[in-house]
């Protein structure tokens, strides 16, 4: 059963929450606009702040098919859009030869027909579907090169693809498109112009606590408050890579796995690898610095409760 798309920003917010995604107001607004006006949503942000998750949650809560195109360097039309099934085509040629069918025009028309077309995510996204238009996730667009970006322009603005041998395929209902980027290079303005842009930042303490309670309900409230406080203070220090929300959740899971009920300097030192992924950052925080931050966090939580 397909669910209707939300009719207001509040409904969008609720929809995401149903899929256990705690959004903030600005994201819900951008997403609502993108859904109701059928324009792609372009999401940028640091690694681990929940960009890809948006598309997954949308597909799940709206009961749509999720088509995921993971971008990488060298991604080309044959792996992103369509490919001809060469083996079948060759078999077909031999068969027609054996049957003595020598009409080349017919043969050419036949072997470059839809029967021999292998559809990749972008083409699949334009197909009509029983459940309504699918969610198309174009993940980490910054990993591909500029020519592929240019190829996307037609798809994103007109929702159509031109296959030279077949003709133009256009979507009856435009898919829901979510594009994510880690900003390892700048995406061209021409592509951004066709989308709504949203920058996902690290959440504030209150929202991070909410996310943690939704994503890791087994963590005790004392521990999760300490964890969030610690991570939030880490983001104020001078690190090369700040821990994202994904790392916070990972760390909380790790601490539960180790039967830890409250943070102490030793357990922090032992599990820091779940939180920080650069050796420089780990050496900076490990030891006395971790203890200092933990004391501050504990002090703050105590004054907050009092």
């Amino acid at each position: 059963m397909t669910s209707p798309i939300p009719k207001s920003v509040d409904e969008t917010f609720e929809l995401l929450l149903n899929g256990s995604y705690v959004a903030d107001r600005s994201l819900a607004t951008a997403l609502y606009l993108s859904l109701s006006l059928s324009r792609p949503l372009f999401v940028e942000g640091e690694a681990g702040v929940g960009k890809t998750e948006i598309a997954k949650v949308l597909a799940q809560t709206l009961n749509r098919k999720l088509l995921r195109l993971q971008c990488y360097e060298g991604l080309d039309v044959s792996s992103a859009v369509y490919e001809w099934n060469y083996t079948r085509q060759m078999v077909e040629i031999r068969l027609s030869e054996a049957a003595g069918n020598r009409n080349l025009g017919d043969l050419e028309k036949d072997i470059f027909s839809e029967k021999f077309l292998i559809k990749r995510p972008l083409l699949q996204a334009l197909e009509p579907s029983r459940d309504g238009p699918p969610v198309l996730l174009i993940d980490e667009l910054d990993r591909t090169d500029e020519p592929f970006e240019a190829y996307l322009l037609e798809i994103l603005s007109e929702f159509q693809i031109t296959i030279p041998e077949v003709g133009t395929v256009s979507a009856t209902e435009p898919p829901i498109v979510i594009i994510t980027s880690n900003r390892t290079r700048e995406i061209h303005d021409a592509l951004k112009r066709r989308c709504y842009y949203h920058w996902i930042d690290y959440p504030n303490a209150a929202r991070e606590l909410e996310i943690l309670s939704v994503k890791a309900p087994e963590v005790s409230s004392t521990l999760s408050r300490q964890v969030v406080g610690f991570v939030q203070s880490l983001r104020d220090t001078d690190l090369f890579k700040f821990p994202g929300i994904a790392e916070t959740i990972d760390w909380a899971h790790a601490l539960v796995q180790l039967n830890c009920l409250a943070l102490d300097p030793e357990i922090i030192n032992n599990t820091l690898g779940a939180l920080l992924k650069y050796q420089d950052d780990i050496t900076k925080i490990q030891g006395s610095e971790a203890g200092r931050i933990l004391n501050e966090v504990k002090l703050e939580l105590a004054t907050h409760e009092a």
Binding site: Y72, E73, G74, Q89, L107, E108, R183, R185
Partner: protein
């Protein structure tokens, strides 16, 4: 063309105007001048705006010529007396007071072409004497203002250096990508074109069409020191970078002194004067001190992930003389080196034969660079073009030698 006395004078004026533009670097031949005359006679002299756009349509054919034309037009057609004096050609002192009325408005290039046109040949000769192709490069010495005015580069200095820089064709150094291009002699079979070709031949034979890995050049990231000690070289570098930015895509330029500024967008402007103007507006730490460590830290923290992602070639242009005497520099250099395809350090101090890498900043940086090259004259710029182009192999032994001396 009408031959009445009025239009006769106009024709001469337009001719001088065209010659001014030509001297300022616009490629305008006699054919285009006739076009301009025809345009003006067709449009008529009803209003100044019409006259302007008639000439504009005939004489300008690229976006980057707009600024030059605009300024030349407004100076040249400012007042009738000016034109009279232009025509008489015998008043060598005319330019000075006219131009001093509003010196900021003029590009030095226009100003000099006009005065040079009026002045006799001797003047040109004295100017030419000032051009020196020596190690100190050719910048006038009276530029000590904190907020630098790029306009004070004279046309002769620019044109000499710029002509050389413009003629540096930077060969595109390439690295293999994961994309394929059709090629007769290739390593793998391109099934799609093979099948199409086979159909064309009636399916009796299947001619194998091949493909190879495509190639493209890696992005280039330039970090250029603009502190007091680097001033002259940084300026020359900017010209070089302007040529490079307009020649290929994926060139990112950062300037640093006490803080880091990204000037890539400004350098993309086709006209070098406009680029330099905008850069001088935006950069606040020109010819001040250097804090290499903290600037590199900013770069690593905020930009490296955005511009170094695709295996970039990094050019670091600095003399390594650091106000913070190398504090925190080693760590940041290490990080920069690890995030880039190749790190090339260009140091103008190498112009001294007896240069020894002994300052603390230099010693902190040396272990982390892949190449160490001079950048003090046109010749070394040419050398740089070769390195960027990949046609010049770097010698490991000379790098090892430098590192040993710095240790």
């Amino acid at each position: 063309m009408q031959e009445s006395t009025d239009s006769g004078e106009l024709i001469v004026n337009i001719m001088y105007f065209v010659r001014t533009l030509r001297a300022a670097g616009l490629p305008i031949g006699p054919g285009r001048m006739l076009e301009a005359l025809r345009a003006v006679t067709t449009v008529g002299l009803g209003s100044r705006a019409d006259f302007y756009f008639a000439l504009y349509a005939a004489l300008v054919n690229r976006r980057d010529q707009h600024e030059l034309f605009d300024q030349a037009f407004h100076i040249f057609w400012r007042n009738p007396k000016f034109l009279e004096r232009m025509m008489s050609l015998n008043l060598p002192s005319f330019g000075a007071d006219e131009l001093q009325e509003n010196p900021q408005e003029l590009f030095r290039r226009i100003a000099e072409t006009i005065t040079a046109g009026i002045d006799s040949d001797e003047n040109t000769n004295t100017n030419e004497d000032k051009i020196e192709y020596d190690a100190t490069m050719t910048w006038s010495a009276n530029e000590v203002l904190q907020k630098k005015d790029f306009e004070s580069m004279s046309a002769y200095e620019i044109s000499a250096a710029r002509a050389a820089i413009q003629h540096m064709r930077i060969p595109i150094n390439t690295v293999p990508t994961r994309r394929y291009r059709p090629r007769n002699v290739g390593t793998s079979v391109d099934m799609r074109t093979t099948l199409k070709a086979s159909l064309r031949h009636g399916c009796d034979i299947i001619p194998l069409k091949r493909r190879v890995r495509g190639k493209r050049h890696p992005p280039i990231v330039v970090l250029c020191d603009i502190s007091g000690s680097m001033d002259r070289y940084a300026r020359m570098m900017l010209h070089f970078l302007h040529t490079m930015t307009n020649d290929r895509d994926r060139v990112h330029t950062f300037l640093f002194g006490t803080r880091l500024t990204n000037v890539t967008r400004y350098l993309r402007h086709k006209d070098i004067d406009v680029s330099l103007n905008k850069i001088s507006d935006i950069v606040e730490d020109w010819a001040g001190g250097t804090r290499i460590g903290s600037c590199l830290h900013d770069f690593n923290q905020f930009w490296s992930r955005r511009v170094l992602g695709q295996g970039a070639l990094v050019l670091l242009v600095t003399d390594g003389l650091d106000r913070d005497s190398g504090e925190g520099l080693e760590k940041e250099m290490d990080r920069l080196h690890r995030s880039s395809r190749r790190l090339i350090w260009l140091n103008p101090l190498l112009r001294y034969d007896l240069f020894e890498p002994k300052s603390r900043g230099i010693r902190a940086m040396m272990p982390y660079v892949d190449e160490f090259k001079p950048i003090h004259n046109l010749e070394s710029l040419k050398e740089l073009a070769k390195i960027v182009g990949g046609s010049k192999q770097h010698s490991k032994s000379s790098m090892a030698n430098w590192q040993e001396r710095a240790a």
